[in-house]
């Protein structure tokens, strides 16, 4: 294609200690093009983009960005301000918005002189409204960002980049927090903007959206670019193989008749400051040999449901029974004793104590077990042996079981948690976003373990924002919206998506 080049990354390399995050990666982005950057977690996608944006200084290589006239200029590396000035905008996975001020101020924040006496809000607003009109990215400008939905916040982030006259937009996993419909809208908006000459790089795990919305695909693996192709010529299987270096392990799932009820929530309500924590009189039964998928847009009460099942939240009304036994004094310890295995949503924050060793984190839920301690003293040999056994069985890789657990990668932290949970043979498993941020291999491992537990007779509550994951694993799907649960009744993606958005199906 004889198009104008907007951006060239030439031979970028970056090492962190002994880990090679990027190895001689070169990429070219044409003006008006949507390039999808695919790769497993840890493949180096985010590192590459952070070098482009000046957050990291590359060990080798350079970057060239085209100016308005299309002439390429070398970009000074290691300076986010220079990247911004050259028209590179980045929207991170975790938004960087001030929640207590409104969208307009968030957008203009940082692009105004710090010491100006008077702010020209009228022209700022006019400019933003112009961008909204051209791109279709709508967001309420006068409401504090804290009250906006996740999708709206993301649009504010994109508007922020466009307001600074970004000609190249980098989106790091933009759809991770969106409903399928919201994601589709986002990509339509992006398409509209590329007509005006915007070039887009988006990072993703999701093959489906990559195939549907990109012009070109580049695949990274272990820090190297292993493939690049026009999307029109791409084939899903081939890309997946490129990403993992082998065929993706397909999760084998066979139908199973549900057994006796394991978990019963009747009319359970949970209060809370934010919508994400609230449940409004929820009824739910999970049976043995059953995976119940809870679909929903994030922040609709998933945290509340997870907190009730994991024992972190006290129900304000209703009752909760596990294995036909009423849990009268719910608490994390009580739920563990009742045979509930919990895979927390935020594995760094709630799953592990990072400063403590891998071995210690593997026994943290069973400190009253006589195999681990006697008369208040830890049996260190037993803890060590247990850790070595589990690390082997669950393939927890890292600098060893006596090393602090924070040194593990995200996937290995999750394996540590899986080992801790599944080793006890739980009757009920709460898996809250169990594959978020994991690469395909690790995610498949989580799925396999959940199915194994189901075959053994456990009940599983799978809360996920990834509808594909739910549809692939769950026997039954419920949709959570605004603190209420609704039975989906089928595995119809379209219908579930509409229910998630709160529209009558």
């Amino acid at each position: 294609m004889a198009e104008l080049t907007a951006l060239r990354l030439i031979g970028l390399s970056k090492c962190f200690g002994s880990v090679i995050a990027n190895d001689n990666v070169s990429l070219t982005l044409a003006k008006g093009e949507v390039l999808a950057l695919l790769g497993e977690n840890g493949a180096g996608k985010t590192t590459l983009m952070n070098m482009l944006f000046g957050h990291y200084l590359p060990d080798a290589g350079r970057v060239e960005v085209a100016d308005e006239t299309g002439t390429l200029h070398p970009l000074p590396l290691g300076h986010p301000q220079a990247a911004l000035a050259a028209g590179v905008g980045m929207v991170h996975q975790h938004f960087a918005l001030a929640e207590n001020i409104n969208a307009l101020d968030n957008i203009t924040l940082g692009s105004e002189p710090l010491l100006a006496l008077k702010r020209d809000r009228r022209s700022a607003r006019a400019k933003i409204e112009g961008i909204i009109e051209r791109s279709g990215l709508s967001a309420p400008l006068n409401v504090p960002v804290g009250r906006l939905s996740v999708g709206e916040r993301q649009r504010v982030e994109i508007l922020k980049a466009l307001y600074r006259d970004a000609r190249i937009l980098v989106l790091d996993e933009p759809t991770a927090v969106l409903t399928p419909q919201e994601a589709d809208t986002l990509f339509e908006n992006i398409k509209a903007m590329t007509k005006d000459g915007l070039s887009v790089i988006f990072i993703s795990h999701k093959l489906r959206e990559v195939l549907a919305f990109s012009d070109r695909i580049a695949v990274l693996r272990h820090g190297k670019k292993v493939g690049e192709m026009a999307t029109a010529e791409a084939d899903e299987k081939a890309i997946a193989r490129m990403m993992v270096g082998a065929d993706t392990p397909k999760v084998a799932r066979r139908d199973m008749a549900p057994g006796m009820p394991i978990l019963k929530l009747s009319n359970v309500s949970v209060g809370g400051r934010s919508q994400r924590d609230r449940l409004k009189g929820v009824n739910l039964t999970v049976h043995a040999h059953e995976i119940l998928g809870v679909a929903g847009i994030s922040g609709n009460g998933q945290s509340g449901l997870a907190n009730v099942i994991s024992g972190l939240a006290q129900p304000e009304g209703g009752s909760l029974s596990v294995n036909d036994t009423l849990v009268t004094r719910p608490g994390p310890g009580a739920m563990v004793r009742a045979g509930v295995g919990r895979i927390p949503e935020d594995r760094h924050h709630e799953g592990i104590v990072g400063a403590m060793s891998v071995a210690e984190n593997m026994v943290i839920e069973r400190l009253d077990d006589p195999a681990i301690q006697s008369r208040g003293l830890l049996k260190r040999d037993a803890i060590q042996a247990n850790a070595e056994k589990l690390a082997k069985a669950y393939d927890v890789r890292g600098p060893g079981v006596t090393a602090p657990s924070r040194l593990l990668s995200g996937g290995n932290i999750q394996k540590l948690i899986l080992a801790r949970v599944f080793e006890r043979g739980p009757r009920l498993i709460l898996a809250n976003q169990p594959t978020r941020g994991l690469d395909m291999g690790a995610a498949a491992e989580v799925g396999r373990r959940l199915l194994e537990a189901r075959a053994r007779g456990a009940g599983v509550v799978l809360i996920s924002e990834d509808l594909d994951e739910i549809l692939g694993l769950a026997d039954r799907v419920v949709v959570i919206r605004d603190g209420n649960l609704v039975e989906a009744g089928s595995h119809d993606r379209e219908k579930i998506g509409l229910m998630m958005a709160g529209e009558p199906a």
């Binding site: 994991s310 310890g333 400063a355 403590m356 003293l377």
Partner: protein
């Protein structure tokens, strides 16, 4: 241009090296005011060393000074491990001391052998209560314990002055605000003839060893570390966070109370409102210098006691103000804090790229 990047994992050499280096650097810096005062720093430090190690008496004085610092250092270190910021060791020390003289000066008619254990127990209990009250306010109402424990120090000090002019006052004391003396059978026995170092030191060392062992090897220590390092994960794992906080509050307060017991029943024999020249606060420095490790607390307490005792003797010998000791102690704390930062982050000089 200077950039600051987090290190992936601070090495073990840093953990030991930084406190040692900080101590050395603080002594080196202290040479500047010594020079300004017209003293030769090398001579001055020679005098300091002589003042600490020059005689059995000097060593005894240093150990006597270190004893309360080990107690208050342990009090701070254990609480800080659980991220419970006990700034109130000074007040808890006086609570322990009040309990000790209250019981020990013949208030109760107790047979000889039981008196000393009872003094120790009640002194520890008084200190424990002094830390558990702010901890209750913290878990129940979210009151910041830094503020409550700090302010409680002043309340307790005023309460002490009231008691010393009231119920605790020595009837034979000619109206001085001081307590009646602790009975002989209630005193911690001295370790050496005609020396001030007393068996409170042994108690402190034993408690430090127990604390070290329990932190690493017991379920209690496991829970304490988990709560301190990541409260959310500890709670999620089913650890009773409140109970852990109360237990460590009680132990921390008790250790600070024992510092008071040890000073009253080991050294002074009676209580005045200037019993402690800030041992509670210095204990925080000791704990930080020790990297919150109980064994480290013993070493740090010995170092700081050496600096104080050595500076005293140096100032007598050379006519330089003994405030130098405070300078060295504060500087070593600053160095440890800066060093801790350097252990966690590396500072890189990057060449400014031409725009």
């Amino acid at each position: 241009m200077i950039r600051i990047e987090p290190r992936e994992s601070p090495s073990r050499a840093f953990a030991v090296g930084i406190p040692v280096l900080s101590a050395v650097i603080s002594l080196a810096f202290a040479a500047i005011p010594l020079l300004a005062a017209g003293a030769n720093p090398l001579v001055a430090y020679g005098e300091m060393i002589k003042g600490v190690f020059g005689s059995v008496f000097a060593v005894s004085e240093m150990l006597t000074r270190a004893t309360p610092l080990i107690f208050t250092g342990l009090a701070a270190a254990l609480a800080f491990r659980a991220k419970l910021w006990n700034i109130g060791a000074e007040g808890q020390l006086y609570l322990g001391a009040m309990a000790a003289v209250g019981i020990g000066s013949g208030f109760l008619d107790i047979s000889g052998l039981l008196l000393l254990p009872l003094i120790i127990f009640l002194g520890a209990a008084a200190g424990a209560v002094g830390m558990m009250a702010p901890t209750y306010l913290k878990v129940r109402f979210g009151a910041d314990e830094v503020v409550t424990t700090l302010l409680l120090n002043f309340i307790i000090l005023i309460f002490l002055q009231m008691m010393l002019e009231g119920p605790l006052q020595d009837p034979m004391g000619l109206g001085w605000p001081q307590s009646a003396p602790v009975l002989d059978q209630g005193m911690l026995p001295p370790l050496m003839d005609r020396m001030r170092v007393h068996s409170g030191l042994i108690l402190a060392l034993v408690l430090a060893a127990i604390a070290q062992f329990m932190l690493a090897r017991s379920v209690w220590g496991f829970k304490l570390r988990a709560v301190g390092e990541n409260t959310a994960a500890a709670r999620h794992a089913g650890i009773n966070v409140r109970r852990s906080l109360f237990v460590v509050a009680a132990i921390s307060g008790a250790l600070a109370g024992l510092a008071g017991v040890s000073e009253v029943a080991g050294l002074k024999g009676y209580l005045t409102s200037d019993l402690s020249p800030g041992f509670g606060y210095t204990g925080i420095v000791v704990a930080m210098l020790a990297g919150l490790s109980p064994v480290g607390v013993v070493i740090a307490a010995l170092f700081i006691a050496s600096v104080f005792v050595g500076a005293d003797s140096m100032s007598r010998a050379m006519g330089v103000s003994s405030f130098l000791a405070d300078l060295v102690v504060s500087m070593s704390l600053l160095c440890v804090l800066v060093g801790g930062f350097l252990a966690r982050y590396r500072i890189l000089r990057t060449r400014a790229a031409k725009a």
